[in-house]
């Protein structure tokens, strides 16, 4: 077990629900995980599995109504964020915990200069003159490798490219040296070449500043390059957790296995390319009417009677490799 003083974030039994016209749905159900200083934890899953709601729950930014965090605890540096008042929480946001969003094109305010948006983040949490805050803003832009940072600081978001904007977002998120950075699909909206640069930048800065990182993605390639540990989510629940090595070497959950199989492989020279990509049949079930048993059972090739009747517990398969599957022992053989 990790030394508790080393823990930046400890989430226990987090439960976030949405009250909608068609009923109550559990976007995040009984989710627990930890992040250590300087560690990268990846949260993986397909659209609608609760990744982004998890991130917003950590920031306490779930839109309420309709959403609400109804249970569990989120401890950041030993402070339970869920117990803070809204005013206290505002002092934490952007200061100890920051977030980068998926859409750099729309995540910056179009009518405020880049520099001023960073200055705002700094001055909200540090008692600095606007001159000092401006110096920090330019310094942060330099740190995220934006050329001519002083000039760029005076520009508006529309004058920057997508990659530049995401760099500016990173600069803003890290301006107060947070203990934890949440990156919600930070590279999904970018060109492939820019993606690699942005990921490398995030990892470099994380190393430099010792920030804990929660990286939310649906891209297993990104996970393999960046994370130390991975959580796989399905229908609001954690179905598997492992170190990156263990997960890629031997996934224990059929869903994880399916995700990996669906990555198109580059064929060896002389071998015909696979004609059809592997897919996981079916879609994510409606979160309003989840089956009593395993939510993945209807799509699972290995499903047995028990899967539909009882939700499988998370079982430790050794070395902190957790999986919630009745057939975990058989996954390796079948696929």
């Amino acid at each position: 077990m990790a030394d508790s003083s080393d823990l930046v974030l400890e989430v226990k039994n987090l439960k976030t629900v949405f009250f909608t016209n068609s009923g109550l749905f559990k976007a995040v159900d009984d989710l627990s995980f930890t992040v250590k200083r300087g560690e990268t934890l990846a949260i993986v899953g397909e659209s609608g599995c609760g990744k982004s709601v998890t991130a917003l729950s950590l920031m306490r930014l779930v839109p309420d109504p309709p959403g609400r965090i109804v249970g569990g605890s989120v401890s950041l540096e030993a402070t339970d964020l869920l117990a803070l008042s809204e005013a206290e929480m505002r002092k934490v946001r952007g200061n100890r915990i920051s977030m980068i969003f998926q859409e750099p094109m729309t995540s910056l305010n179009p009518v405020i200069r880049i520099g001023d948006q960073i200055v705002e983040a700094v001055r909200l949490h540090r008692n600095l003159s606007s001159k000092q805050a401006r110096d920090i803003a330019v310094e942060m832009l330099r740190l995220v490798r934006i050329p001519e940072p002083a000039r760029r600081a005076r520009e508006y978001p529309h004058q920057l490219s997508g990659g530049m904007r995401q760099r500016a977002m990173i600069a803003m998120a890290l301006a107060c040296r947070p203990a934890l950075l949440i990156a919600d699909e930070p590279t999904t909206a970018l060109d492939v070449t820019i993606q690699a640069q942005i990921l490398a930048l995030i990892l470099d800065l994380q190393k430099e500043l010792g920030t804990g990182l929660v990286l939310i993605t649906h891209d297993l390639g990104v996970v393999a390059q960046t994370a130390q540990r991975v959580i796989v989510m399905y229908a609001g629940r954690k179905v598997e957790e492992a170190s990156v090595e263990a997960l890629f070497a031997a996934p224990k959950h059929p869903y994880t296995r399916g995700l990996m199989a669906s990555i198109p492989a580059v064929p060896a020279p002389g071998v015909a390319a696979q004609e059809r990509l592997n897919e996981i049949p079916g879609t994510v079930p409606s979160l309003v009417r989840l089956p009593a048993g395993c939510a993945f059972a209807p799509r699972c090739k290995l499903a047995i009677k028990r899967c539909e009747a009882e939700y499988p517990p998370l079982i430790d398969w050794g070395g902190g490799h957790l999986a919630a599957c009745w057939r975990a022992a058989d996954v390796a053989e079948v696929a």
């Binding site: 930014l61 505002r90 946001r93 952007g94």
Partner: protein, 315 residues
């Protein structure tokens, strides 16, 4: 930018020329002229006198000649003489402008300073009681004609204080200034404030859903900073457009309100001049209003560039 301004100014001149033609000929289509009206009131008169008077006023000439005569005078700064008072039209119009300008300015100020904050509150508290109350209030603002509201205010004033506010061009006390200018301005501005509120509300609701609002919250910004600094800055553009259009409509509202409150401004003067077919007054006054409206539109376009850095007027 310079070339843009030159082009804009040129277009404004073309617009004003078009308006001058429309005003001039519309006015001539209205049956009867001042001579007919005067003579009808006098009973029997010699038709020769009538022709004489028409010749004297120059309304016997072909319309094109009359038009050129008017425009020529306008360009030289000569607006002609009022048929009714026989004083120079400029002398008749100028002293009335500040009164109407003050009313219109106050009405706009009132509509923006009430409408925008209430619109923000209504959007931020969407679906709450205060939102519903404000929406009902704004609906009433849109559906109450200002002349009726003016009459209600006057009636209420009589019922409560036993008197009506009488217009005083040089108010001595704050109370008098309030009664003279602010009450009529509020009566006229109520409608615009309701419209401003509704536009602000819907524009804010649109903006509050944007990603950058979430970013601002994620920074730790307070609700007030998010709503007024981040959101309103983006939501204000359609509001400016509406206020600009309202500035033009305001003149129409003032015609009625100046009449109800007995205020000697240009708007009421215009109605009287139309009744007398006092061509020099009507033509020049409407031209003046047209210039104001055209400049209001121009100002709105310029304000866009101020509020939205993405808009730059280039060639």
């Amino acid at each position: 930018m310079f070339a843009y301004l030159v082009r804009r100014l040129f277009l404004m001149l073309v617009t004003l020329f078009g308006i001058s033609v429309v005003i001039f000929f519309l006015l001539r289509i209205v049956p009867g002229n001042i001579v007919d009206i005067l003579f009808a009131a006098a009973g029997y008169v010699d038709p020769a006198d009538k022709v004489d008077l028409e010749k004297q006023l120059g309304i016997d000439q072909p319309l094109v000649v009359q038009y050129l005569h008017w425009i020529g005078g306008l360009l030289r700064g000569d607006l002609g003489y009022s048929y009714v008072s026989e004083k120079p039209a400029l002398q008749e119009i100028l002293p009335r402008i500040p009164i109407t300008a003050r009313l219109a300015g106050l009405a706009l100020l009132f509509s923006a300073s009430i409408g925008i904050p209430l619109g923000v509150i209504s959007a931020v508290k969407q679906g709450s009681r205060i939102d519903y109350a404000l929406r009902v209030l704004s609906l009433s603002g849109l559906s109450l004609p200002s002349f009726w509201l003016g009459l209600l205010v006057l009636t209420a004033s009589v019922a409560m204080f036993g008197q009506m506010p009488i217009f005083n061009p040089n108010p001595q006390s704050f109370a008098e200034a309030f009664a003279t200018y602010c009450i009529p301005a509020m009566v006229v501005g109520f409608r615009s404030s309701a419209l401003t509120m509704r536009i602000t509300r819907s524009s804010m609701l649109e903006v509050l859903r944007q990603d950058y609002i979430r970013t601002a919250r994620a920074k730790g910004a307070s609700d007030a900073a998010v709503n007024y600094h981040h959101a309103l800055k983006n939501a204000i553009l359609p509001v400016i457009t509406v206020i600009g259009i309202e500035a033009a409509f305001l003149i129409g509202g003032l015609i009625v309100t100046e009449t109800v409150f007995n205020i000697p401004g240009v708007a009421r003067f215009l109605v009287e001049a139309i009744r007398w077919r006092d061509y020099p007054i009507v033509q020049n006054l409407v031209m003046f209003i047209a210039v104001v409206v055209v400049f209001a539109n121009f100002t709105v376009d310029m304000l866009y560039a101020v509020f939205d850095p993405r808009i730059r007027y280039t060639d």
